[in-house]
Symmetry: D2
Subunit: 308 residues, 4 copies
């Protein structure tokens, strides 16, 4: 079993030796210049092997996002809106969708979730107002990690709110760790499996899943870091290949990574110098996808005009 | 009945014609260069007349705070700590004190509460940790107004949290409106009556009181604004006095203020240009008072060292 | 001579008794829902009377800006771009235009200038780069007020830079004080007279004009505050009118305002509670006008794509 | 010649094969729990070999800074003050000391310089004021990197200011890259050699030295990152040692690092997740050292009281 430190199901799969695992089906396609990969994990054995729970994982990849290409941004947010729309349940009875931005606002690579919440169009408090003419869904949003540093666990706060607000669905956003540093800032993963303990840059201690809160939990994430131990492992393998060496044995690499993880260096993160700008950009793209998915009757201009 | 637009019980009382109202007792004293005024409202008639609920209101005034005098800061935060300690119930069973910072972080004069939460030492999540050697009380803190703009009412979030965390006391912090602009930035009010609808710079729509949540609610506030209508009224009176005119009739002044309130100008605020710095300073002083009151076994240096 | 505390030439003129002053010509027109007023002051006597230097003052007014109407924003920034283009000299030899954002970033109503600098497309450092395909003008930008608090006067820094960069024109942006609070956030003044001592929310101590630096200085400003003394004066007059009183004598009003100015209250500012959001919005609109005026060969999308 | 990617002279020296290089003298001592290393480079050959200009480099190391130990902070800032005082020339004629905070405020690991400028007590603009009773030196400060993104090079702005302000000394602060990640956040280097092209996290393109501006330039820096290529190199060597392998040949390691540097991964940075908090802390400690060195007649409390 390969040791992996990635929150992307797609990388966990790539990392396995062969192209086929029973209980996992993988499809690739392209749309509007965006590479899409779907990983479906359908049995428990496969879930164990990939260290990811059963469910559907969709990955959108678009390296041109890094160059801030406006067409690429639009393509990614449109595809994201479409796929979120597909996963969302019907919320017929006025129950809100609760958007949860996990992570800590004052740790740059962990601040994607709060950044998305800042850009989410929330409507729950204005739906009854007389000046609201258009058909809108009820949406509320919270960034509990701002609070996590204040003596209340993020998940504890989310659970208290779910009991009180009774949302029909939860849409979580979180910063992820990748294996390949080239995925930072240009890859978005969408899954119906919620948030798992140990995942994310902030390393959540409790799950946020349909099983834990009784409401469907969709989660959206983007890698913002690679762990230093993972980088060292990959640099080692890359170097061996450069030198024309035989590929290092998987066990040796795993040993190395595990050893580094227990040293100080393992918990260091590797990230681009421009991570502040990358996270802000990504928060805009993801929020745009969420706003379109949640308010299909509004145009982009109407959404923009309603934002504070 | 005079029309007033002030959150300070002391100003509501000053505003009445005579020095004595049945059901209200007022005391003044000085300590360490700080003027202290206690207003006790003990009957319903008086509460109606002053437009403030029954209870105790303590005001600390220290104009030297505006000049950022270090001795004044220390004196005020020490007195505040002492008085908060007097109002707090015993929390014997490990139940936390919940500090609630009301207001909106992105509206400067309404951001006192979130600023205090940022500087509050929270301990609830670390009390069990092995490295904690000292006797500490359990404290958690939340700034729900960041969330009020996201489709969830501040009070709704606080209520959900109170159900889940079962605190033994709530300590609220809020930005207030004063009548006299000279009180901005140098006056702190402490009361056991909680938060009332319509009070504060953010004008809360629901109460946060022992009656509404079943837990004692102490609130601490500082004026950061005067409403423009109030200023116009006072300027008018001040001008009449300057000119040696007979004092304008109270009814005429009330009429003027009410008329202005319905015009655009009435909702404008009057504030010092330096309000950004004043609010930050005040947040530091109030948080220091709260931290000392809640952790009497820790020295100032220990509190500072434990803050992130 | 009426005492005035306004940075808008248009309000200084409105404030005079009659509709005609020798040496002042005023025109009004409307375009795309924006009210435009041009005040031309052509002789010294008139300049003294209005307390504004000789030159051209163009005011764009659009109350719908306050409601964040996207059409209004576009109309105002387009008109602003056109008028800035008309005032700018030819910069044939590659000399840059220097955009100067006056004011203090940490005093909200004084932060318009730094906010515009943050959103200005600067090109001076990239003009030679091989990936630049389009015709672009050289632009650099500075917010010296961030520095003014650090022991160097804004104007001193601008003068040092002008000597070193030799710009062909200076485009200044500053926060202004108005007489009428309804002009806050929805009125832009454009003038070829530069910046005068005593003007602006920050009250500059030295001029920034063609005479002081040897380069044409165009300035753009928006009111963000009314001084409290001015409000009191206007409230008094407004109240008299409400009561059906005879209009108060101009001399009495001037006396009142001058007296208040020497009291604490006079230096207080009156501003909307939402000034943080208003200043951010206005910075976006003004920067958009400046970017279009300075880069006529680029589309809006190209400008947006080049911004960091 | 070993290839190095470190801004610390001490690490450049450690990296050489033997303990002795002609033209370099190294001393170690300890004071108040702080490890101090002085590297003196006295000839050109040695300067070439270490890739650092001739001059004096003092390094203060104190791992307890990472745990935010208050005693450690005080010890480091006191030692820093003393050593800065030793390097500063006499400024008898009222000429100011110019503090320059290099780096970009919106790239967290590059924001140390601007953070120090924010906390520096500047006095040049108030020295003549009647309320100033104490003997103070003239100090001004600038963070030009905020401007570097606005079309004006940091060094160009500093040069323009030096011509205009004629300081007697320049004190530069910059974020550095280290070789050993354990030095991030707990090591301060002080040198009389100024700033070299290519150094720092922001990789300056022009020098800022006594030779370039005609004024003595002292620089203070702290490592905030390790380049990913450097980490990979060290991980490789560390791993070989773990495995009991023969030490990898220096040439092989240099080859690896150079190859990685040309790949995408080489420009990635390695940094602790908590870098936002580490940089803020360090800015406070360094500014405290600078303030004490520049104002020996003021107590810490007086300095604090004069800061805005």
């Amino acid at each position: 079993m390969p040791y992996t430190r990635t929150d992307l199901a797609m990388e966990a799969f790539e990392n396995t030796d062969s192209g086929a695992i029973p209980g996992v089906s993988v499809s690739h396609w392209e749309a509007d210049g965006v590479q899409i990969t779907e990983v479906l994990i359908t049995d428990n054995e496969a879930a164990l092997q990939l260290d990811k729970p059963k469910g559907s994982y969709l990955t959108l990849e678009c390296p041109r996002l890094i160059e801030r290409d406006p067409d690429a941004r639009l393509a990614v947010s449109s595809l994201l809106a479409e796929e979120i729309g597909r996963l969302l349940p019907e919320c017929g009875d006025g129950a809100p969708v609760l958007v949860v931005g996990l992570g800590n606002r004052s740790i740059t690579p962990d601040s994607l979730g709060p950044g998305v919440v800042d850009r989410t169009l929330t409507t729950r408090h204005i739906l009854g107002a007389s000046y609201i003419q258009r058909q809108m869904n009820s949406v509320c949003a919270i960034a509990p990690g701002v609070l996590g540093v204040t003596g209340i666990e993020s998940m504890e706060l989310v659970e208290a709110l779910v009991k009180s607000l009774r949302p029909c669905a939860i849409l979580c956003v979180d910063s992820l760790a990748a294996r390949d540093s080239r995925r930072i800032g240009c890859t978005i993963q969408l899954t119906d499996t919620g948030i798992q303990p140990g995942a994310g840059v902030g390393n959540h201690r409790k799950p946020l899943t349909e099983a834990s809160v009784g409401t469907p939990v969709i989660s959206v994430g983007m890698p913002t870091v690679v762990y230093a131990a993972t980088l060292a492992r990959d640099a080692f393998a890359w170097l061996s290949a450069q030198n024309g060496d035989a590929e290092p044995h998987e066990d040796a690499l795993n040993d190395m990574e595990r050893t580094l993880l227990s040293a100080d260096i393992g918990e260091m993160i590797v990230t681009p110098r421009e991570i502040d700008a990358i996270v802000q950009d990504a928060a805009g793209i993801i929020a745009s996808g969420i706003n379109r998915a949640l308010q299909p009757a509004l145009s982009d201009a109407e959404i923009a005009a309603m934002m504070d």
